[in-house]
Symmetry: C2
Subunit: 479 residues, 2 copies
């Protein structure tokens, strides 16, 4: 019973302390645990099951666009890392260095990959000879290490799991197309599977990836109004190809540099899931990504027929391809409800002697707590419909929340007042000068999230300096 107790302890309310609420949910939904290795997390079975569903669905979508998976070495020689100037400046300060292998000190130190552009370039340099070898559309699922100072589970850890796509193309146009294509794959995945609406746009020079010509991003708003960058796609032009000598013989028999892209998403998306959909009872998972979609909870399970009926419902749902479990433990129903709610299982089905007598059961939605009484015979038909409705409504609710927290500012006073008083994003015009971006960040804590693809002209002048505006920018405080 001591063990039972920890589950029903209250978690901190999100309105009282959002950061503590997040930490409580991660711990009590048993997603991760701390490890003896500072800044590194253990991903527990329930957290990993969510990641497996993310991987499975993304990987399927990648392969539909012609992506092939590969595996590159985990370690990068220092001389290889340092060939592209901007890239090494961006990453060298935060890598972990291997200096000894077995009993010998290494003659050249190796870093644990923070990202693998350099390894893919090194590989492509030999693997690509002719235009016939193009395009290369490769991806890998792996972990990377970045020596962060402050860490939080899923959001910022010294090691995280991700996928990194790396492509090489014969033309600049094709590389640009692939960059945008993968951003769209990310946006569709986030919206349709994770029920997280995103704003697609381009990063400013200041915020783009080290070594990229252009970085595109999908930005999501968390429940507290802060931004979370949820996936990025980079067009490198031929910059890396020139630094690493990745050339091919074109159809016209001339030697040319390839045009490259890379794109990545990480276990951060699980952090986004928590902070977009969660509530004061814990996690709320969209049905499309939930490891368990339905938990059947028998009431007075010792009474004749109850367990049989519960198991019958499980069989019927499993046959309809619903991911379903039954909780037959000796805990109280109330405790089982709390557990199911904490873990964000989309639906629970309650069935007890009274229901049984009437040939029915009660379906309860995790997000709205809406109850539907259904004839037992109709469960397998009804549940998929409720799951789909819930998936759709979770997206629309998140979209409505986001849209109601996007403000506009046409002058700097308005900007500062809004960012301090109203959690959310601010749309404001920008002159394109990094000095203004720096000033806004320093004085307000807001960063440019992106220059959205859907541009509007809400004013003529830069919100910061008042000079002629060039771009609409979405600003926000971020994770």
């Amino acid at each position: 019973m001591a063990k039972d107790k920890k589950f029903v302890e209250q978690i901190t309310s999100m309105d009282v302390d959002f950061a503590q609420w997040y930490t409580d949910v991660v711990k009590k939904a048993e997603l991760t645990d701390y490890s003896s290795v500072k800044g590194f997390m253990v991903i527990k079975p329930y957290g990993y099951a969510i990641w497996e569903n993310i991987q499975k669905e993304m990987d399927r979508r990648f392969k539909e666009t012609g992506v092939e998976n590969v595996y590159m070495p985990m370690l990068i020689p220092e001389s290889l890392l340092t060939k592209e100037k901007e890239h090494v400046e961006g990453f060298a300060p935060e890598v972990a260095w291997v200096t000894q292998g077995g009993s010998e000190p290494l003659t050249e130190r190796l870093c644990v990959r923070p990202t693998s552009e350099t390894l893919f370039c090194d590989f492509y340099k030999n693997d690509i000879q002719s235009y016939r070898d193009l395009p290369k559309v490769y991806n890998q699922w792996c972990s990377v290490v970045r020596w962060e100072k402050e860490t939080r589970p899923f959001l910022r850890t010294r090691e995280f799991l991700w996928q990194e796509g790396h492509t090489a193309h014969a033309t600049a146009e094709e590389a640009e197309e692939r960059t945008v294509q993968m951003l769209n794959v990310y946006a569709d995945f986030l919206e349709q599977v994770l029920a997280i609406p995103v704003i697609k746009g381009q990063k400013t020079e200041k915020e783009k990836f080290a070594g990229a010509k252009a970085t595109y991003t999908v930005e999501a708003m968390m429940h507290d109004g802060k931004a979370l960058q949820s996936g990025t796609s980079h067009n490198f032009g031929d910059g890396f190809a020139r630094a690493y000598g990745v050339q091919f013989t074109g159809k016209d028999n001339t030697l040319q540099y390839v045009h490259q892209t890379s794109w990545g998403t990480t276990t951060r998306m699980i952090g986004a899931l928590i902070m977009v959909h969660g509530d004061d009872s814990g996690l709320v998972l969209p049905p499309h990504v939930a490891p368990t979609q339905v938990m059947v909870i028998p009431i007075q399970q010792m009474k004749e027929g109850v367990l049989d009926a519960a198991r019958g419902i499980v069989d019927a749902l499993a046959a309809a391809d619903v991911r379903v479990k039954v909780d037959e433990t000796d805990k109280s129903p109330g405790f089982k409800f709390s557990e199911q709610e904490m873990r964000g299982i989309p639906l629970r089905i309650e069935i007890g002697p009274k229901d049984l007598a009437e040939g029915q059961c009660v379906i309860v939605r995790r997000d709205t707590r809406e109850k539907t009484v259904v004839a037992i015979a109709d469960v397998a038909a009804k549940v998929p419909e409720i799951l789909e409705n819930m998936q759709h409504e979770m997206l629309e609710r998140a979209r409505a929340h986001r849209d109601s927290h996007i403000y506009t500012a046409t002058n700097y006073d308005e900007f500062k007042q809004t960012i301090n008083e109203k959690p959310g994003f601010i749309k404001a015009m920008w002159c394109g000068d990094q000095a203004c971006e720096d000033q806004i960040k320093e004085e307000t804590g807001a960063t440019s999230r992106c220059m959205p693809f859907e541009q509007e002209e809400i004013a003529d002048t830069c919100v910061c300096c008042g000079k002629k505006a060039k771009k609409l920018v979405i600003w926000g405080r971020s994770y």
Copy 2:
């Protein structure tokens, strides 16, 4: 055409130089490539697709036995690695050490995991409190690093991909059951999916895993008669639990140590696939693991109707859940045949104008080159049947090859003569003394592969010292 040429170059015959044949196949079937990081390999799309099929099928089998996947940190603090004496002595000499994170030297060095017993113990120590928390049956898919001196693709590399299961149980009996259960999962997988027959047995004290009470193994014979350890399962008893303090409160309210197991298989299995089934034309993949099971190759594809018919066959097979592709490139049919054979694609279907006129096509098996003429309308019914026959016959052929290369020796002269003259395994009795095992290894290069579960008594005395024998041992030279 220069690109085409490299494919039709002859590979070294396996009878001339088996090691060179292996290297040629790995390269020309485009499974791996060397990288700029010494001893590390790049796994190319075709090699990785085989690994993905292995993962998918193994993971499904694991989950059927109650396994849950997790993810542990990639780095291990030195103080954590060194808590179990035998374990650290086994692994410390071959690990890579991280000594700097970002711009600061670390106060304690961290090794890149060579295996994760220590991390799981450290996690279980906090996660397990009561008998209610047991058993824990966790697994992770990841890469590990061991600083090997000599490396060969798949067989021995400084980094390799694997799965490592780590379990904790309330009783010694349950731990032993799980150890054997997972060995059986490995044996079934190797036989049914990879068509590789294995001998199940126990490792001697000398050959067991560092820190284990008992190590069980599945040993396979390669085409050249050498052994390849293809999976191991370890029972740790409560040794690690005592070293790391992993205790639980039992039903009787006493504090007890858990009993642990671990079990692993690696990308080595791809090396086994190559060396068990390959021939002088390249790779031969069993249908159950082949990324592409059927390659449709149109003959005179410019002739009216040929490509349409080829595509029709692809559609029919895909609808029957066969993994099928069509080669519509402008290479010659002969060249396409060579490519399909090099890559070990189980079946090819040839279809040209003459076949079309007669409403038929020709199915050619990769392993036997047996041809079957089939009506186009019957292809979708016939192909799965041929694939299943091929899968079955590949296993039986490998078993017959292995069984015809297992010899017995009842005295040391016979042992030495057999090991030098007849590639294969030797069954011989052993007194149980490590001195004999050491002597045999030093003088013949053969190691004890295992004490097979199926024991026989082929003599009374040890093949080496002539003293009373205790166990039948399978001996062989190994990879």
